[in-house]
Amino acid sequence: MARMTMIEAIRAAHDEAMAADDRVVVFGEDVGFFGGVFRCTQGLQAKYGKQRCFDAPINESGIVGAAIGMAAYGLKPVIEIQFADYVYPGFDQIASEAARIRYRSAGDFTVPLVIRMPAGGGIFGGQTHSQSPEAIFTHVCGLKTVIPSNPRDAKGLLLSAIEDPDPVIFLEPKRLYNGPFDGHHDRPVVSWKNVDEGDVPEDDPVPLGKAKVRREGADVTVLAYGTMVHVAQAACEETGVDCEIIDLRTLVPVDLPTIAESVKKTGRCVVVHEATRTGGYGAELVSLVQEACFYSLETPIERVTGWDTPYPHAQEWDYFPGPERLGAALKRVMEA
């Protein structure tokens, strides 16, 4: 068991997968010699050669489309989109092609492919380095969407994503790359190296489709993923509301039994995400919960989210749904 940052954990997952299976190839903008702008692929080219880890031209459709071809050939590409904000040029290849090739060819061709991308804000990246576009993927049938909240899950989920026979969108909360972050941006930065959560066991895949109850509680169920898991923990501690915090980990297919069981117990639910509210993945969660737990609900399900504006630069902390905003919602549902 080693203590790692999320970057190191992601690197380790690549390394294990590449060592175990020749078919795993890694490419993307700046991922080769340099090892990626966040250094998640550092050392892979030196270790596995230029044929298995290389730089790509700056064309996100090209990166996804080429990877689809390689996957159809029989390889297992793991590609990096430099920022999730830049995935849109590749969206057609993802939604129209990767997601539908197994179905439309009735299994004649398949696309085992992992598309990694750093997502989320909190680094003063402005509107083009902060987005959380998970909802445009979760709406596309044929895609799995995964987002870890800590190094251990990052490694375990990435290994499972690479194993998976179908395309997986793998969102990495970039604000968590180096340490946990609960939204208190004015407090000192903590490294994963200094917290127990930074412990990453070897060879321990985390299955896709399984949520994790991060904290058991009786009052209200908080559905969170990525950075928001830490925000939820802070809000819970600070308000004293006895939250049951569920880290979804996989958004599609979502672990509905775990969610429903919790909400049936607590009778209250708050959904939190960083993406804009309207049409966000939170809407799907609200729908699922009210479908599955209607008669257990004591108060309306609340959504605490980014606002329906582009992610602003200077007003980053007014936009970010931090522990205060979540805390207020927790109190509202408890008092409702």
Binding site: E97, R104, S105
Partner: protein, 409 residues
Amino acid sequence: MPAKPLSLHVPEPGCRPGDTPDFSNFEIPRAGEVTRPAVDVDPNEIRDMAFSIVRVLNKKGEAVGDWAGALSADELREGLRHMLTLRVYDERMLTAQRQGKTSFYAQHLGEEAVSCAVAGALAKGDMNFPTYRQAGLLIAAGYPLETMMNQIYSNAADPLKGRQLPICYSSKEHGFFTVSGNLGTQFLQAVGWAMGSAIAGDTKIAAGWIGDGSTAESDFHAAMVFASTYRAPVMLNIVNNQWAISSFQGIARGGVGTFAARGHGFGIPAIRVDGNDYLATRAVASWAAERARSGHGPTLIEYVTYRAGAHSSSDDPSVYRSPEEAAAWPLGDPIERLKSHLIVLDEWSEERHEQAKAEAMDTVRTAQKAAEANGTLQDGAQPSPRDMFDQVFKDMPPHLVRQRQEAGF
């Protein structure tokens, strides 16, 4: 002095309904004029080939020049049979569509040589990434006509389980990647597949396919960038049949240059070839295949041909182009040209041709009967609605199981 007001240049085809077709500006070199370079030629040395047209068959039906001579009479007769079969297949399927037996069809009339001939340049295990207008690849690769029709009819025996629009075939075994419907996407995937083969140290190559109009799509560019950067073992085929639904090729091409010339900015060798000349088409495709297989990387090929029929069963070209244009098309009909050549060689005759046509008709009819016994889109046996929920993923996730239950299947 105030500057002159600007205005927008909007290209127009030479001929609209009511006009007389005029191809006198279309430069066609004599057969045999364009010579065959070595496969390891420096792309810069053959820049002219992007502005000329490789041709083998002359007006008299003779095969001339150094692209000629590669095929035996048996091979030529086989090619002719593939084209005849494809033409009959198209006729029957168009009729079936009009009879309501299926929803949609798109034919190959006038451009049968392209897919039939290129198929011959590829080897078992190579992979095509075709558009909806390359069924000749399947016919030439021996994919059963009945299976093709099962797909067209979306019937109970359709290997794609009724999921796909007619003509969006898929057969890995026959080197035919599942047709998308989205233009351009697969041209790029072909490059990725070829990169995959190179990474694996394999010997297989890929062939990407795209129409003239679709070269405007962005994935065309992505394909060129990736193919040139990584020298992918891929043949990049542009089928310039002059039209993209109602838009003539000038809308995609700009005023100057050729589609083939797009290769030059990438250092990719580019060749234009007479797409209605089975021999030239096959020879150029074989050259490109050899290049790719020997590690010299991609070749961009523009097949100059003409879409003699409607875009699809949903289209009526008389609204936007002259009905005389097809007959005026200077490169003729690919079947007639190969037939004449075989007759010149004394390897064929009018009688044998009629007989071959009858045989093709017979084969297609027999297949059609068998296919219709498996059902058509509106009648007879159908794919199961339960199948609708399968293969979205390898293993059905819980939400799809729930939805299938909700649907009652």
